[in-house]
């Protein structure tokens, strides 16, 4: 077998072993690859920066499942750190059935982190005052539209079965008029419906945190201004983590930022494999032509 034929017949298990090794390597040999922040990430960051403290609330819709947790969970955590540190009230909801578990995990993690560092009650993040989680709702289009009139009619109780009127935050936030932006952290086409229904009818600002697979098809929404920002995949999460770190909203590096080192090396490895595969292919074709 000629050398170029061997290149086209590399056992796939060799590729799997190399991929595994190069994913694990950066965890033990830490190094820093500079992160370039994309305009759409900065747009979202700047929008949240412009929201005054304790004024309008931010809706974060936790619409992802454990299968996309590595990409979407760091986004949700970074957004929560930013909002809580800026004292922007957060209302959490989910339309993805597997979202609630991850939503509660993110909210608990970040609120606990903030409260450990809190010097007094006024520094603390308190459930019911600074954030609420309303839970999962079926019939999402109907729910999204009804929230434009009254959030309490859609969610008479929150995820923890507290009556909605017993929560101080929900006595101030009645409908979309008191919402600065809705950020949809999603692994499916939920952001489309936010743009088509609440934004079209009530003028709600919408932004999205999406898996990398979905990101390309949502660039048109950025370009038209229908999205006020977008986080794309683990890179988007890493960029947002970098921004909140640089601006002093956290002193902890995020998971996505450490994962991006592995991401960069794997991409280089895949480029090398593609080059090897193409070299093997073109030489094989040339050899057949000569024969």
């Amino acid at each position: 077998m000629k050398w170029f034929e061997k290149l086209t017949r590399i056992d796939r298990r060799v590729i799997y072993v190399l991929l595994t090794a190069f994913v694990i390597l950066p965890f033990f040999i830490p190094f820093k690859i500079p992160e370039n922040v994309m305009p759409q990430t900065r747009r979202l960051f700047d929008f949240i920066e412009s929201i005054p403290a304790r004024d309008k609330a931010v809706i974060i819709s936790f619409d992802y499942s454990p299968s996309t947790q590595p990409e979407c969970h760091p986004m949700a955590i970074a957004l929560l750190r930013h909002c809580f540190k800026k004292r922007i009230p957060v209302i959490g909801i989910s339309y993805e059935p597997q979202g609630p578990g991850l939503a509660v995990d993110a909210l608990t993690l970040v609120s606990r982190e903030m409260n450990i560092d809190a010097a007094s009650r006024s520094d603390s993040v308190i459930y019911g005052q600074d954030y609420v989680y309303l839970g999962w709702k079926s019939g999402r289009v109907a729910a999204m539209l009804e929230m434009g009139e009254s959030i309490a009619r859609v969610y008479p109780v929150d995820y923890f079965q507290n009556p909605i009127d017993s929560l101080p935050l929900m006595r101030k936030v009645r409908n979309y008029k008191e919402i600065a932006i809705a950020i949809i952290v999603a692994a499916a086409t939920y952001p489309d419906e936010w743009v088509m229904y609440p934004q079209a009818r009530y003028g709600v600002k919408v932004a999205a945190g999406l898996t990398a697979v979905m990101a390309p098809e949502y660039y048109p929404f950025l370009q038209t201004g229908q999205f006020s920002g977008m986080l794309s995949g683990m890179k988007g999460a890493a960029e947002y983590e970098k921004l909140i770190l640089e601006h002093g909203y956290t002193d902890k590096p995020g998971r996505a930022e450490t994962g991006m080192n592995s991401q960069s090396i794997i991409h280089l490895l895949i480029i090398i494999f593609i080059v090897i595969g193409n070299v093997g292919y073109f030489f094989t074709r040339r050899n057949k032509g000569l024969q």
């Binding site: 799997y16 994913v23 965890f27 079926s138 934004q199 898996t211 697979v213 370009q223 229908q226």
Partner: protein
């Protein structure tokens, strides 16, 4: 290493799924079937507790008999399994399609067609920032060329030929970007799994 048995179970199932990369085996089959079974059970429980019971069973129990209408429509779906009355399934399907078309067609037109056309049109204000103007022109040319490529009512001769060729280039660039993003997504999930195995399970990384 974690003392939590659930972490150990998750790690075992993760490695069980990964074992398929070597070859198909009973551990992989068990992990896969367990996942499908648990997912189905979770969804059934969730829809019962969060949708059927509060929105149908409880209102009916309280005497709101109008809810017999959606109950009947839902039950008609199961007529599909009885050949003699399988035609009844067309009624709820027609209702859902009618509602779906009514609510989604105007919204899609507004958000995904008209606003996108508006965003594509190049005006003098697009050139307020020179670079923005150049990209606006590129997007406009790309959209027109791509749409012309998909115009099959005439043979691509004359002016249509080079424009559709340009459209192919834009399409291929788009596919390339999609491919790159897809690789990033899949690798992210792999990284997430290894972060779990090396962190919460083995305790080798923070």
């Amino acid at each position: 290493m974690s003392p939590n048995p659930w972490i150990w179970i998750a790690a075992f199932l993760t490695l069980g799924i990964f074992s398929f990369l070597f070859k198909d085996n009973p551990v992989y089959r068990f992990s896969e079937h367990l996942f499908v079974g648990v997912a189905n059970g979770y969804y059934i429980a969730l829809y019962w507790h969060n949708t059927l019971r509060p929105n149908l069973v409880e209102p009916l129990a309280q005497g709101q008999f109008i809810y017999f209408v959606p109950l009947l429509l839902g039950l008609m779906y199961f007529a599909k399994f009885i050949p003699k009355i399988s035609w009844l399934v067309r009624i709820p399907i027609g209702f859902v399609i009618g509602w779906g078309a009514g609510i989604s067609i105007p919204a899609n037109f507004q958000a995904r067609i008209l606003r996108q056309i508006e965003g594509t049109v190049v005006t003098p204000s697009s050139f307020a920032n020179p670079w923005q103007g150049i990209w606006a022109a590129v997007i406009f040319i790309g959209v027109v060329a791509t749409v012309i490529y998909f115009y099959f009512s005439r043979e691509h001769k004359g002016i249509l030929k080079p424009v559709s060729r340009l459209g192919i280039i834009f399409i291929m660039i788009g596919f390339g970007a999609s491919f790159g993003y897809t690789i990033m997504a899949r690798v992210s999930l792999l990284i997430g799994r290894f972060q779990f195995l090396l962190g919460p399970w083995l305790g080798l990384i923070k």
